[in-house]
Amino acid sequence: MRHMSPARRVAIIVVAAVAIVAIGVAAWLVFGPGPLAFAGNSTVALADYHEANPTGVPADLAKADAIRRGEYLAKAADCMVCHTTPGGEAYAGGLAFPLPFGTLYSTNITSDKETGIGNYTDQDFLNAVQRGIRKDGARLYPAMTYTSYTFMTDADALAIKAYLFSLPAVHRPNQDDTLLFPFNQRWGMIFWSWAFNPNTRFAPNTAKCAEWNRGAYIAEALAHCGDCHTPRNLAFALDNRRKFSGAVAAGWRAYNITADKATGIGAWSDDEIFAYLAKGHAMGRGTASGPMGEAVDRSFSQMAPADIRALVTYLRSIPAVASSEPATIAAPAPTSPKEGGAVADALGRRVFAQACASCHSWTGVSALSPVATISGSRAVNDPTATNVAQIVISGTQRFSPGAMSMPAFGSTYTDSEIAAVANYVTGRFGSAASKLTAKDVADLRGQTAR
């Protein structure tokens, strides 16, 4: 070292400095703030909080038994949607999540002792839900949203267990995941979990009102909104610097739900957000479909109105983050199919005339029902047309009262026809036409949970 030339010494110092900066940047990118950091650190332990209890169930259920409370909480946490296959037995698992490096399957969480979680003790259940550790010690992948459920109180998690154990045990063996190396090494999740699971219970924020705290508990500990709506970083952890600003999950776009007026829901009224959550539709704003439609059916529509209002209050407080969606929402299209955007797309127009115009009208404002109005929705104004194509493929089957369903066209039309009609719809009813190809549609088909 003593004989090192000055130039070489400078080079080493520069390389070292660059490496340190790079590690620092990578760490900054990967180790972001927690989901509630935006609200400041005026937090106290739940036991030291003297306003209305933000955890648990609504007041009219507070005296109910654990099974009844657990039912409400399991619905609020939306366990069913991931742990049930379409048409399959409730909570018996088996839903496939195709990933770029293999397929994950949700597991049987019925009380069956052989194939479900019937042998789980209370502590086993808490370890799985709050810490991502299976009874056999294996680590769960973050597809199981334990980094959100970790904020749940022990009492609430155990009420959910009591509810699950009150349901019929279903004997359905879990499938093996088909992940490629190195993703199939579950032990690697020890480090991921150590870095990204706060493993801490919900701490109320005394600078915020009781309703906000209730909304925060529902959104973060139960409904796990961020697991779809918050973008992920390189390490697949939630990037809460861009909290709730939208992401693609399981082949569907979860839109920006921050307070940003142009690209988020800052311009929505409280009543519109309430209606969208409680009924899956807000007049002129579109209808919940895909995973959000399922969340409305199985979760939000089952919640007490006061809890939905608390969610609205909480959502209102999320800092505005602008995302890449168009800032303008297009007005309804002309009545005549000869006028308006995308008239040149002959195939897309033909498919639209045959299959879509009867309900959605050439204006996009449905003459049949407001829930079939597509004009004004974020989906048709999204130039990636991700959700338009997905809705055409799988339709929307709503179970909420007053809802209408749309048939699935995925087996009726080819990929190029679906691409053409999605491009036509975004061109005619949106602010920018999409440019989907048949291959894009095939890719989208492959990404959905099934």
Partner: protein, 152 residues
């Protein structure tokens, strides 16, 4: 729940759930079976009726959303100017084969001509594409629409 709906100029009081599709009210409650059930998902057009002159698929139209708007069915369409022309052209051209879809075809064609007395082929495509005919009478339907428009 009781709804008062105006059908072909006559008021009808019906006691049904508000999300009952109009088609069920027409056929099962009121016995007006001229409007046909085809697919039940607004994909075939057989159930087309007019609501304030707009052609709508009655199989998905919740009766609770109709309000005071005027419903016209195949039983009443002959009393409208466009409807009378269409029905005459349908007979002159012998459009119908099995006939199941034809009340829907006539309702869509009548709505088209009422809004656009001289439609070109593209207008006819856009207005009629949602009405499916299993017998394949499409060529005669197009001719009859042009004939009713006084163009053939």
């Amino acid at each position: 729940m009781t709804f008062s709906i105006s059908i072909n100029g006559t008021k009808h009081d019906v006691d049904v759930a508000d999300d009952t599709p109009l088609l069920w009210v027409l056929r099962d409650v009121l016995g007006m079976t001229g409007t046909k059930y085809g697919c039940g998902i607004a994909q075939c057009g057989a159930c087309t009726v007019h609501v304030d002159g707009n052609p709508l698929r009655s199989c998905l139209l919740p009766v609770g959303t109709i309000g005071s708007r005027a419903v016209t069915t195949i039983e009443g369409i002959g009393a409208t100017e466009a409807g009378a022309k269409v029905q005459k052209a349908w007979l002159d051209r012998e459009v119908i084969q099995c006939g199941y879809c034809q009340s829907g075809q006539i309702m869509s064609a009548a709505a088209l001509l009422a809004a656009n007395p001289h439609p070109d082929d593209a207008d006819i495509d856009a207005a009629m594409a949602g009405n499916i005919c299993r017998c394949g009478t499409y060529v005669r339907i197009r001719e009859a629409i042009k004939s009713a428009a006084g163009e053939a």
